[in-house]
Symmetry: C2
């Protein structure tokens, strides 16, 4: 069913913008249950091939938006998944007053009790990612008792502080002096940066900058 | 249903690794149809909150993999969606022998008839993205007749050569002399690079390098 609809879109038997037959007609023509047709069309709409409008019916998308799915695993599992040996070093962990941009990201005030943690993740003994993170102790009080020299804040949070929503952004930046020293590269090397902020309901939990060593590539299928 | 399952995971009433009740038991307890339970659990498994194994039943994921969805629109729509004015300039378009890495990406031989296209996309008159693209004329013969000074290869391909699968990767690179001149920045500026290769079945269609001007950030919700 799904394959047949895709075939018609790809061969341009159904052109961009065309209205497609009604579900009940497709079900009859292709000899399958209407529920099957409905599910296939909903999936293809979610993937951007079709536009479904309540009154206007279903049309072939004029500009299909392709959707890539990015898996965001715990960094240890990402490295082990590449067949490399994972190691982790805590650089420091301190209760500190959060800077204004972190307060904005998390929607907290500067008097919020926050933990500032920096750490280095290594793959086969080489720096892989430098993590700088702020965690709201108010939102996740148990982190005050965690031994962050043994387990990374990244992994601890995944296990103990599930979140309901988050923002993620990706960009390219130049290594600062400090970042270059930590990642064992040179100043002004090109670094892939992931910034993540997560909330549990309305409570900001954590905001992190993940800086990857030069050469990092993030992959996905579309 | 879905919210109740998420609540139990988030409050750790169901802990990572715990086996959860059978679908029929959950349906009875929560007073909803078994099909509803089944759909909610399948969705939560797809989102990485649950592990479903045929024989071992359904467990709370020990390391939830969060999945970000990235929408990949036509670049014109991305710029217009930011409320900016889109402009496009074709730099050149030539039939050329593809270099070895493009042959590898697309699974074609060097005698494949290919079009090499470079172009610049602008937002509010400023360079936004520099596109360097190879298109297999063998796989999409109509492109030979397209006026690529009027419509970008990016948009033409979306409209005329839908694909069935693709690879996408993201990284950070330094601007070369030429790239810096085209993007009106300086050599060694940090650039966000998207590399995309798409196929229709087994036929490689196109392989592109999309280099974004400094400051570009790609966003998503998780």
């Amino acid at each position: 069913m799904r394959d047949e609809v895709l075939r018609r879109i790809h061969t341009r038997e159904w052109k961009p913008g065309d209205q497609i037959p009604k579900e009940v007609e497709l079900a009859e023509e292709l000899g399958c249950a209407r529920a099957t047709v409905n599910r296939a069309l909903r999936e293809l709409a979610a993937e951007g091939f079709l536009d479904r409008r309540r009154k206007a019916g279903t049309r072939v998308a004029t500009h299909p938006v392709r959707r890539a799915k990015l898996d965001i695993p715990v960094i240890r599992l990402e490295i082990e998944g590449r067949g490399q040996k994972y190691a982790y070093g805590l650089l420091y962990s301190e209760r500190r007053t959060p800077p204004p941009e972190i307060c904005t990201n998390l929607g907290v005030t500067p008097d919020n009790d926050m933990l500032h943690i920096t750490s280095l993740h290594l793959a086969d003994g080489k720096p892989y990612m430098f993590e700088e993170r702020w965690v709201s102790v108010a939102a996740t009080p148990q982190i005050a008792d965690a031994d962050l020299s043994k387990i990374s804040a990244n992994e601890w949070l995944v296990l103990h502080a599930p979140y309901t929503k988050g923002d993620i952004s990706f960009s390219a930046v130049l290594a600062s002096d400090t970042e270059a020293r930590i990642l064992r590269t040179h100043k002004d090397a090109p670094l892939f940066l992931i910034e993540r902020t997560t909330w549990e309901g309305e409570n900001g939990i954590t905001s992190a900058r993940l800086l990857f060593a030069p050469g990092y590539r993030m992959h996905s299928a579309i």
